[in-house]
C-alpha cells in the first residue's frame, strides 16, 4: 500500500472518516487545531458535518446530541479544553453514548504552554468528570497509530456504548510520518437504542438521571459490568527487548519513542534493558507488569509529568521490586542521553 507522509493530527481525521465518522464538533486550541482544520476541510467533501462550537462545553454537548442520534461522531482538544469538556464526558458515560474524544496534551497546569506534555493522565484515565465511570484510553506513539487507534476507538465505543479516548501529546500530533491508511469501514453497526428521526420507539430515551437510589445503583452495577468486560478484552501493550531484560523502562506516547532509542543505545553497551509501552492506558496492562515484575530487577518509568501513570505501575508491582521514576514538566522533553544518565544514576543509588 502506498504511504502518505502526514501529520499525526491529520491522520486522526482521515482514520475517523475511514471508520465512518461524519460529525465533528470542536474548538480551536494548539497543538490540536489541525484536527479541527482537517475535519473542516474533509467532512463536507464526504457529506459530513463540521461545526466550530462556541466553546469546549458546547462542542462536547453537540457531540452528546449527535451520538444520541446513532452516528459516529467525535471531538478533539488539548488539555485546558479537556478540563472544560469533563461535564459532558461524564454525562455521555452516564447516558452510555459512544463517541471518540481526542486529547493532544500540552504543558500545564493552567494555561501552561503549547509544548508536549502528559499531565492529563489522571484527568483522562481516572475519570476527570464527576461520578464513577471508565473509558478505554488509547495512547498512540506514531502517526500510523493516530489513524489506527482512532479507528479502533470508534469500534470500542460502539461495542460498549461508551466514550473512548485517544490520549496523545503535542509531538505525536505535530509530527509527520508515513501512514498506510486501511480500507474504509463500509457498514456501521446498527444502534437499536438510538434516537431516530422517524417511527420513534415510544420509549426511546437518552438520559443519565434517575432519582431512585436503588435504580441508579442498578445502573451503576450495569456500567461496572460493562467496564469489567472492557478491561478483560482491551488491554494493549508493546514489548521491546524484554525477553532477557533485568531492567524494563515504561513510557507511553512520544516518551516510548525516546525510550526506544534509550534501549538501543544501552543494549549496544551490553545493558539488559527492555521497553514496555502501554498502548491502552485504561485498561492498564497490570497483569503484564505483574509478570514482568516476577522476572526483572527494576522498572524505570518516564513521563512528561509529575508522575501519574507511575502510580498504576506501582499498584501493579505492589512493592515487589523497585519502581523508579523520572519526569520532566512544562513541555520539556528529555533526550535519550538525559534518561540514560538518570537510569545509571538510580542504578548506583
Amino acid at each position: 500500500m502506498a504511504k502518505q507522509l502526514i501529520k499525526g493530527n491529520e491522520a486522526i481525521v482521515k482514520g475517523a472518516i475511514l471508520a465512518g465518522c461524519r460529525f465533528y464538533f470542536g474548538y480551536p486550541i494548539t497543538p490540536a487545531s489541525e484536527i479541527a482544520e482537517a475535519a473542516a476541510f474533509y467532512l463536507p467533501v464526504v457529506g459530513g458535518t463540521f461545526i466550530q462550537a462556541e466553546s469546549e462545553s458546547a462542542a462536547i454537548n453537540m457531540l452528546y446530541g449527535a451520538a444520541s442520534g446513532g452516528v459516529r461522531a467525535m471531538t478533539a482538544s488539548s488539555s485546558p479544553g479537556m478540563s472544560l469538556k469533563q461535564e459532558g464526558i461524564s454525562y455521555a458515560a452516564g447516558s452510555e453514548l459512544p463517541m471518540v474524544i481526542v486529547d493532544v496534551m500540552r504543558g500545564g497546569p493552567g494555561l501552561g504552554n503549547i509544548a508536549p506534555a502528559q499531565a492529563d493522565y489522571n484527568q483522562m484515565v481516572k475519570g476527570g468528570g464527576h461520578g464513577g465511570y471508565k473509558m478505554v484510553v488509547l495512547a498512540p506513539n506514531s502517526a500510523q497509530e493516530m489513524c489506527d487507534l482512532t479507528m479502533l476507538a470508534f469500534d470500542v465505543a460502539d461495542k460498549y456504548r461508551n466514550p473512548a479516548v485517544i490520549l496523545a501529546d503535542g509531538f505525536v500530533g505535530q509530527m509527520m510520518e508515513p501512514v498506510e491508511f486501511p480500507e474504509p469501514v463500509m457498514e456501521l453497526p446498527k444502534k437499536e437504542w438510538a434516537i431516530q428521526a422517524d417511527a420513534q420507539d415510544e420509549f426511546r430515551l437518552v438520559s443519565s438521571i434517575d432519582l431512585e437510589p436503588e435504580e441508579l445503583e442498578k445502573h451503576n452495577v450495569h456500567l461496572q459490568q460493562k467496564y469489567a468486560a472492557m478491561e478483560a478484552n482491551h488491554v494493549m501493550f508493546e514489548d521491546y527487548q524484554t525477553e532477557d531484560a533485568e531492567l524494563v523502562v515504561i513510557g507511553y506516547g512520544v516518551v516510548s519513542r525516546i525510550l526506544h532509542s534509550v534501549v538501543d543505545e544501552l543494549r549496544g553497551k551490553g545493558v539488559k534493558i527492555g521497553l514496555m509501552r502501554p498502548i491502552s492506558l485504561w485498561p492498564f496492562p497490570k497483569n503484564h507488569i505483574i509478570e514482568l515484575a516476577a522476572r526483572i530487577k527494576r522498572f524505570f518509568v518516564v513521563e512528561l509529568s509529575d508522575g501519574q501513570m507511575v502510580d498504576d505501575v506501582r499498584l501493579a508491582v505492589n512493592g515487589k521490586i523497585p519502581v523508579q521514576f523520572y519526569g520532566r514538566y512544562g513541555g520539556v522533553v528529555p533526550s535519550p542521553d538525559e534518561i540514560i544518565a538518570q537510569i545509571m544514576k538510580k542504578n548506583e543509588a
Binding site: 502506498a2 504511504k3 502518505q4 507522509l5 482521515k14 472518516i17 475511514l18 460529525f23 494548539t30 497543538p31 474533509y42 467533501v45 464526504v46 457529506g47 462550537a53 462556541e54 462545553s57 458546547a58 454537548n61 453537540m62 452528546y64 446530541g65 449527535a66 444520541s68 442520534g69 446513532g70 452516528v71 461522531a73 461535564e87 459532558g88 454525562y91 447516558s95 503549547i114 509544548a115 509531538f171 509530527m175 509527520m176 510520518e177 508515513p178 434516537i195 431516530q196 428521526a197 422517524d198 420513534q200 415510544e202 426511546r204 430515551l205 437518552v206 438520559s207 438521571i209 431512585e212 512520544v254 519513542r257 525516546i258 526506544h260 532509542s261 538501543d264 533526550s335 535519550p336 542521553d337
Partner: protein
C-alpha cells in the same frame, strides 16, 4: 383539532417512567409547565409530527418532561440543551427538535449556548419558560428575577446595583440577524393562553418548513416558590412580570423566508480514499542509493529564520526519503515560533525503525542563519556534517571533527531569480554530499511537497545548482 378534554396522543397514556402515582404529573398545582406541555403535545398531534419529534429535556423542573411526551427524548446537562439540539438536529435534519428550557438553564448557565444557536440560525424550536426563579432547586435567584424580588439567595430582595437587572432574552436575541421568529407570551388568562397556543404552533411550523431558529418565551407562574396561591401568582405575574417583560413579537421573518426542502444525511463510503486524498497504491519504485558511510541513517536538524523554507526543506527530504523506502519522521518546532522568528525541524531517515523523533544529537545540521549555526553547532555528532549558507553566515563553524560544507545558497537562489528557493539549493547540496537520496527520487517526490506546480521547474533548477556546486567543489 385536539379536543381539550382528551389527552393528547403525544403524551403517554400512563407515565411509567415516573415513580409513585403515574397518571398525574410531578408539577405543582397551578404551575405553568403542565399547560405549556399540553399546548405543545396538541400541536405535535395536529401537525402529525409525533414520530419525528425529539424533545430535549433540560435541568430544572422540566427535567422530567420525558416522563410525559411520547416522542424521542434526550436529557441534557444544565444549560446545554441548545448545543445538544444542534447535534441531534444536524444528524437528523428531518426530525423536529424542541429545546425546552427554564430561565436559570437558558439565561444563566446556558446563556452563550442559546445566543450562539440562535446566531447560527439552527433550525430548532426553543420554548423558554420564564418564572423569574429557580424552581427545581427551591426558589433561588434567576437572571430573570425582578428587581427587589425576594428569593432564597436574594433574601433582602434583588439589588440591581450588585446583582444587575432582569435579563430580557427576547430583546437580547432579537439583535441577532439569523433568528426567524421570537415572541414573548404569558400563561395567564384564556386570552393570553390562546396567544401561547398560537406562538407554539408558529414556532413548530417554522421548523417543519425549515425556516430556521424560533424561540417562544413563556412567562409562567411558580406558586410554590413564590409562596402564593395559583390565583395570587397569576395576578402577581400580570402586575409585576409583564411590565418588566413586555409581551409581543420581537422578530418575525416567517413570511419573508421561503420554505426549504429537508436535506437528509446519507452515509456513503464510496470513493472515500480519493476524497481524503490518500495516494493510490502504486508500485514501489526502486532507487539505487549508496549513502556515504557517515550518513547511513542520518538525523537532521534544519534551522533558520521563519520564511526561509526551513520546514518545507525538511518535509521535502522526509518525503523523498519515504519514497526511497526509508523509515522517516519529521518534527517541526510549532506554535509561536512558527509565527515569525526562528524555525527548525528534526528529520530522521533510517533503514531501522525510527526511535525518538526528537533529534538531540544531529548527524547533519543545516543552518540557514547565524543564530541557528551557533545554537546547534556544538550538538552535531563527531564525523557528522554541517551545511551552512555562506551568503548569510559570515562565520565558520568552530568544529574540527565534522564535515563542513559552506554554500552561498541564498546568492545562488537570487541568481536563479527567487531568494525563496535557497532551501532547494541546499537540498541539492545535501543529496550530492551524502548520497542518502539521489536526484531521481527527489524529483519524483517534488510534486508531493511543492503545492504550486508552476514552480516545479524552478525548484528543480535550484536542486541541480546545489548538486553541481558540491560536485565541482569535490572535484576541484
Amino acid at each position: 383539532m385536539a379536543n381539550a378534554l382528551i389527552k393528547a396522543d403525544s403524551f403517554y397514556e400512563l407515565y411509567e417512567r415516573k415513580s409513585g402515582i403515574q397518571d398525574v404529573t410531578h408539577y405543582c398545582p397551578g404551575c405553568g409547565h403542565g399547560v405549556l406541555h399540553k399546548l405543545i403535545a396538541e400541536a405535535i398531534d395536529d401537525f402529525g409530527i409525533r414520530e419525528r419529534t425529539i424533545l430535549i429535556s433540560p435541568v430544572g423542573c422540566s427535567v422530567f418532561a420525558y416522563y410525559y411526551f411520547r416522542v424521542g427524548n434526550i436529557q441534557a446537562a444544565h444549560g446545554r440543551a441548545p448545543a445538544v439540539s444542534t447535534g441531534i438536529k444536524r444528524v437528523h435534519p428531518e426530525s423536529i427538535v424542541i429545546s425546552y428550557q427554564g430561565d436559570g438553564d437558558l439565561a444563566a448557565i446556558g446563556g452563550n449556548h442559546i445566543i450562539q444557536a440562535a446566531n447560527r440560525g439552527e433550525n430548532i424550536t426553543v420554548f423558554f419558560v420564564n418564572n423569574a426563579i429557580y424552581g427545581m432547586t427551591g426558589g433561588q435567584m434567576a437572571p430573570t428575577t425582578l428587581a427587589g424580588q425576594k428569593t432564597t439567595t436574594s433574601p433582602y430582595g434583588r439589588n440591581v446595583n450588585s446583582e444587575g437587572y432582569p435579563l430580557k432574552v427576547c430583546e437580547l436575541l432579537s439583535s441577532l440577524e439569523a433568528p426567524v421568529y421570537i415572541e414573548r407570551v404569558a400563561l395567564t388568562d384564556p386570552k393570553n393562553t390562546t396567544k401561547v397556543r398560537r406562538a407554539v404552533r408558529k414556532a413548530l411550523q417554522n421548523q417543519i418548513d425549515n425556516k430556521g431558529f424560533s424561540l417562544v418565551e413563556v412567562l409562567s407562574v411558580c406558586p410554590s416558590n413564590w409562596k402564593m396561591t395559583p390565583v395570587q401568582s397569576k395576578q402577581w405575574l400580570v402586575d409585576n412580570m409583564i411590565p418588566q417583560f413586555p409581551l409581543g413579537v420581537f422578530r418575525d421573518k416567517t413570511a419573508e423566508i421561503p420554505n426549504r426542502e429537508t436535506i437528509r444525511n446519507t452515509f456513503d463510503q464510496s470513493g472515500v480514499r480519493e476524497k481524503l486524498e490518500i495516494p493510490a497504491n502504486e508500485k514501489q519504485v526502486q532507487y539505487s542509493l549508496q549513502p556515504k558511510m557517515d550518513f547511513a541513517n542520518p538525523k537532521l536538524v534544519i534551522a533558520g529564520f521563519g520564511g526561509q523554507g526551513v520546514l518545507i526543506l525538511g518535509l521535502g527530504i522526509a518525503q523523498a526519503a519515504m519514497q526511497a523506502g526509508y523509515n522517516v519522521s519529521w518534527l517541526p518546532s510549532y506554535g509561536p515560533e512558527m509565527r515569525g522568528g526562528t524555525a527548525n525541524c528534526n528529520v530522521n531517515i533510517s533503514r531501522e525503525r525510527v526511535g525518538s523523533p526528537l533529534v538531540t544529537k544531529p548527524t547533519v545540521l543545516i543552518a540557514m542563519n547565524l543564530p541557528s549555526l551557533e545554537k546547534f553547532d556544538s550538538k552535531v555528532e563527531a564525523n557528522g556534517l554541517i551545511i551552512y549558507d555562506t551568503s548569510l553566515i559570515n562565520k565558520q563553524p568552530t568544529r574540527q571533527d565534522v564535515h563542513v560544507l559552506g554554500i552561498p545558497a541564498t546568492q545562488m537562489a537570487d541568481e536563479l531569480g527567487n531568494t525563496r528557493i535557497a532551501n532547494m539549493v541546499i537540498l541539492g547540496a545535501f543529496i550530492a554530499y551524502t548520497a542518502v537520496l539521489n536526484k531521481e527520487v527527489v524529483f519524483d517526490a517534488l510534486p508531493n511537497f511543492i503545492k504550486r506546480k508552476n514552480l516545479l521547474p524552478l525548484n528543480e533548477s535550484a536542486i541541480i545548482r546545489g548538486m553541481e556546486y558540491v560536485l565541482n567543489k569535490v572535484t576541484n
